[in-house]
Amino acid sequence: MIPERLKASLKREFHQSLLAKVGLGLLILILFLALFAPILATHDPTTSRYWDDQGNSYPPLGITYDTEIAQEGERVEYTVEPTTEHLLGTNNVGEDIYSKFLYGARTSLLVGFFGTGLAVLMGVPFGLIAGYYGGRVDDSMMRVADIMLAFPSLVLAVALIGVLGAATIPIPDPIVMAGFAEDMPEYMILPGSVTIVVALVTWVWFARVARGEAMAIRSEEYVKAARSMGASNRRILVTHVLPNSLTPVIVLATIQVAAIILLESSLSYLGFSGTTLSWGYEIQQGQAYLSTQWWIATIPGIGIVLAVIGINLLGDWLRDSLDPNIEGEHGG
Amino acid sequence: MHDEILTIDNLSTKFFTENGTVRAVNDLSLRVGRGDVFGIVGESGSGKSVTARSVMDLVDSPGRITDGSIWYRNEEFTDRVREDHPNAVEDGAVDLLELPESTRHGLRGSAFSMIFQDPASSFNASLTVGEQIAEAVEVQRRAHANPRSTRARTSGSNYSLKNYALSTVFPSKRFVTRASRDRAIELLEMVGIPDPVQRADEYPHEYSGGMLQRAMIAQALAGEPDVLIADEPTTALDVTIQAQVLDLLAELQEETGMTILLITHNLGVVARMCDRVGVMYAGEIVERGTLEDVFDDPVHPYTQGLLGSIPDLEGREGRLHPIAGNVPSLFEHEMEHRCHFADRCPKAMEECLEHPPEFDARGSPHHAARCYLAETTYSEAKALPEGYFSEADDPAMEQTETAATDGGGE
């Protein structure tokens, strides 16, 4: 499916670019963590009250902190020691941060991939039809797209979730079902509203790119030839226009996965996600404890940054080697 | 002898690319007399543009001048430089390659200025033509301590980022002044642009190709340069416009007495404009002399081939004589120590396997050629067997087929 020339170009660029290797490495790492979260996790991420004897959250390994407790009616200074039981400590309600980190990777990637997929399915046909037919069809379709673009996606997403409600879809976890990790939750939670909403606010970017490609390809000689030989418009769209627009769509999709992960984290930070197993939500949980238990908000953020850096690096690599013309990267 | 404004000795310019080192200009020497129109002619890739850019110090990375000297003779300039850079001065001339970059760059526009092949892409599309010419005027104005002195200067003007930032708010801090703008309009008028006051405020895309080339000439004249380097000045233009631009150059040269270094692949342009000619091949001057020497009595088979490949406008011969073979690879690791033309040369002999030095040729005292035929006559007995190079050479070079060179024809 990928032409040899592109493969060679991808390979050459990959060998030359250290950043591309780092990006692929990061993405594989995050994918690995997300995929095998039930096996890698040490505790059920939804179980709380993992506290020390005095009811304090554990800090990550290597860190201690001082707090005050009431003892015989008096406040006394007291140092909380980390425990090997909880590698990255526990949060304010006593959930295991390491296990939540792994499950947060799942949520981010699920929303990232499903959301992007949905946006591609909505945007690409829309853009191809607008660009291929041109004229009035194009005008009216692109006017709609303009309005969509003309709006801050986060604001739109929050407003939409306000209407839809933060619905979630439980998906049975295959690893737990197969009996590899019995103590873990049986379902993984896909934040359904969030997935649909991020697709709704990003599909326009795919429509724009697909439209541009369709307009360019429409005037190519071989498409004119196919038309003159009586090929139907639908056939031309599917056999000629669609395959040719794939390269820029793939590059844009990669970058959009990163943008959607960021958007998802913002939505869950604001509390619109519907699941508590999300990096953004964990950051919000930790915000109030910034001055004492700073790691609660810090660790999930590192997860977001690493995942997004990895995907962005991959996107840069694809773009440098495939060289499509995409304006407006990182759709907002 | 002492009236050579520009003398290039053993200049080598190389490009250090990922695939190997390219010898764009190799051991090149030439002498340009004051007030001459000196033509450098050759195929694309023969190194003529790189030579010109080496003089201006405009060779872009990964290219670098690796060897040689470029002597510029201007009394005032020599006096200025003598104190700070005594090593650079010799016999009244200055070796530019011995000077620090800033001093060399100060010569841009005042000692040397340059016009380029494609005027449309050589102007900045988002500034008016007048503004861009006025900049060139202003640079010189600022470099001059004394505005009446109009000869070569030692240093360029300083302009800081702070001043630029201020200029976006305060018009008085702008680089270009009213006086420079007025001078730009005069220059436009001088090169024959109608309505110069109005045209100065237009953008490059509002000009035709020929008009824009005139504007570029005006820009190059802003600093009253000693040497105007014209790099393929007419290639991008229509034939009728070409003639007008050449006439303009000739006229201006006559008026100002400046020296022109004309770089072209078009022998017709050379014949029309030049007093002296150097023929370049594979980064070297293979033959040089007066126009008559080179055109009427060429020694080097390459020159002969080039001249043969001018289509005869009057149709006397009615056909082209293309030179067989391809331009040679300039990668250092692929160049052998032989005459680089030997593989395409109809008169290649055993001697030619040794790189030829420059021989004096018949004709005027300036006539010289890098070819054994200047000394000996061609003998069949010593000729290399046919197909010698296609076997000996790198396999990639085997596809040499008859290919018309772009030397001439336009």
């Binding site: 003309a150 801050p152 407003a159 913002s266 977001i304 | 100060g106 988002s126 302009y159 800081s160």
Partner: protein, 329 residues
């Protein structure tokens, strides 16, 4: 002349966009579940009172009448009353606009001041340490969520080092300027400045990183063009070549991209305000969504749309000014 025409066309388009946003918001309210009366009245309220409220709000009318009423109200500046606080929506929105604008402008200024020189240096010193630093820094910058960055800034610079306040806006910019001008008392202005630095950096980082990347790649493309050599040949000082010629041409495509990114700036402002308790439209907006306070939500969203459209028109005008080919058309 042509510029005026251009402006009128863009304004008409803007009105169209705002109308679209209003209509979408109205449609969302129409399909959203739940009876607004429940949001206003106590559970215990009697049916008679409910009916009364419904009539007052016009909710008993057919949809198209409600829509027309709503449109008419917006045209005359009447956005209705907040369900939650019963205050008129318009002042509730207007009193928050300055804080959001301050933040967005401050972030833009931070971004432009840092990113453009950084991009230029990065492009002109390719593959030197400065370039590597800028490249990696901007990669991290576009990959970091601004709310988390804000928290980290608070953690390190406020909580640990105590250099900056953790948030809030004790004084408005216009008030502090007024005080500075009338009483020559700079205290409030300094306080304002001290409080806005962290939010502005948190919000501006993404744009700093984005513009640095765009400037770098655009400059590299542009530096390879023939006019740059021609400009060097004139003897023009390097500063002018880089900034007046090359950067100017680099900015033309960048401005288009930035126009498309304005939405991200406004969305980012909403969330940054939440992190830093900055009293702008952001927390009104989130509160309106959480309380399903439709009139307030619509008011905020329409205002965001209006400011977005206005900024976009300014960007387009700048684009036309920089690019003579557009102005000529």
């Amino acid at each position: 002349m042509t510029f005026g025409k251009f402006l009128v066309r863009r304004l008409l388009q803007g009105v169209f966009v705002i109308w679209g946003v209003i209509t979408v918001m109205f449609a969302l309210r129409a399909v959203s579940p739940g009876d607004p009366v429940n949001l206003i009245l106590d559970q215990a309220a009697g049916e008679e009172l409910r009916q009364q409220v419904r009539e007052d709000l016009g909710l008993d009318q057919p949809m198209y009448i409600q829509y027309l009423d709503y449109l008419q109200g917006i045209v005359v500046g009447d956005f209705g009353f907040s369900y939650q606080s019963s205050r008129p929506v318009l002042p509730m929105v207007l009193e928050r606009v300055p804080a959001t604008l301050e933040l967005a402008f401050a972030a833009t200024i931070v971004a432009l001041i840092i990113s453009i020189p950084l991009g230029v240096v990065s492009a002109t010193r390719r593959n030197e340490p400065a370039d590597y630093g800028a490249t990696i820094g901007s990669l991290v910058g576009i990959s970091t969520p601004n709310f988390w960055l804000g928290l980290m800034l608070i953690l390190i610079l406020s909580v640990q080092l105590g250099l900056f306040p953790t948030g809030r806006r004790p004084v408005a910019f216009h008030d502090s300027i007024w005080i500075a001008l009338t009483t020559f008392h700079l205290g409030p202005l300094i306080t304002w400045f001290h409080h806005i630095i962290l939010p502005a950096v948190a919000l501006g980082t993404y744009f700093t990183a984005l513009i640095t990347r765009l400037t770098r790649s655009g400059m590299i493309d542009e530096l390879g063009k023939p006019y740059v050599t021609a400009t060097e040949a004139k003897g023009l000082p390097g500063v002018l070549i880089r900034y007046k010629h090359v950067l100017r041409n680099t900015m033309i495509p960048i401005i288009t991209v930035l126009g498309l990114q304005l939405g991200t700036l406004i969305g980012g402002a909403v969330i940054t305000e939440i992190v830093f308790s900055w009293p702008g439209l952001g927390d009104r907006f989130i509160a309106a969504v959480n309380n399903r306070d439709w009139p307030l939500l619509q008011g905020v969203v329409v205002f965001i749309a209006i400011s977005f459209v206005l900024i976009n028109i300014c960007v387009d005008a700048l684009y036309a000014k920089l690019n003579p080919k557009v102005a000529a058309q």
